[in-house]
Amino acid sequence: MRVLVIVPAYNEERNLPGVLRALHEHAPFADVCVVDDGSSDATAEVAASHGATVLQAPINLGIGGAMQTGYLWAQRRGYDAAVQIDGDGQHDPRFIPAALAPLRDGVADVVIGSRFLGEDAGGFRSTAARRAGIRYLCWLLRLTNGVRVTDPTSGFRATGRAAIALYAKSYPSDYPEPEAIAVAQRSGLRVVEVPVRMAAREHGESSIGTLGALYYFVKVSLSILLLPGAP
């Protein structure tokens, strides 16, 4: 199985070396492509010096557009599976083989790494307010799409060929994670979760502040409610 790891990165020159080293150590079988989303720092150079393919967007696309660039590349290069890992060091590449297993066994098209599954979950599980938001999104996705997930905002995902093709064609913009689950479900793809551990960011700030939370809430709710049926 040819696997492409997609690492979207916006001004992540400090976090990226650690992520790429960990990828090399725990997923040496995979090709790595860093989507440099119009960074103003040395993200692209750092990625290239660690041997990753760099997809350098000349202007900032936002996380959705950046992720889709990775999926377009995976589709064009004929990869069997794609894994998305954040460039900020939150996701541990140790869990990549576990995330690929359901794809290899042919029991899923989209695999989400969930920090709320498993016995000894532990690790970083975000603040109480965010967990409340996550519970709301779980409820909304179950109500509108009948899909049961525990960690809809997780950006740790593995996708098979069918999902790569779907996301290359249509991937949501702005805050795409929960909506991408709904998109997959409506296209008849199978979504499953595997337990993973996450860490807090090493450097820099999260992209969503307090005021942004309200916008996030409205935007994601509307995008899921207004999503058209299967194409």
């Binding site: 989507v35 440099d36 393919t53 997809l55 967007a57 202007i59 557009g65 889709q68 660039t69 913009s173």
Partner: protein, 130 residues
């Protein structure tokens, strides 16, 4: 009824707007596609100005007591319609730009790959006098 001079002034202003839009299309600064909503709605506004009895009939049909209020309502609709057309055009453009940017990013990676492959297969021409 609209006083005659006001009517003339209205038609003149609207005609000027219409001619301006058509001139922008002619000189290639606005595409006909994007300007169509302006042309159509401005022609409609001119028709209402020349035949104010249409406006009175409309006000009567909608049970608007003062005909001028129907005019205000129409004017707001006119602006909203053109605004919405612009919003649609902006969204379409954003989608196209995103796709183009993604294509650029991929072509750049392809190019780097080709360059790397070439510099490996051939010794670099630096240092050679040609």
């Amino acid at each position: 009824m609209i006083p005659f001079r006001l009517q003339v002034a209205g038609v003149v202003v609207l005609l000027a707007l219409l001619l301006w839009v058509l001139w922008l299309v002619r000189t290639g600064r606005v595409s006909l596609r994007e300007s169509l909503s302006w042309v159509l709605s401005t022609v409609a506004a001119i028709v209402f100005t020349i035949h104010p009895e249409l406006l009175a009939a409309l006000a009567h049909a909608l049970q608007i007591e003062v005909a001028s209020n129907a005019l205000f309502a129409l004017a707001i609709l006119y602006v909203l319609w053109n605004l919405m057309t612009l919003t649609i055009a902006t969204s379409v453009n954003a989608r196209k730009i995103r796709r183009l940017t993604q294509e650029c990013a991929m072509l750049r990676a392809e190019l780097e790959e080709q360059r790397a492959a070439r510099s490996q297969s051939q010794p670099s021409p630096t240092g050679e006098s040609s």
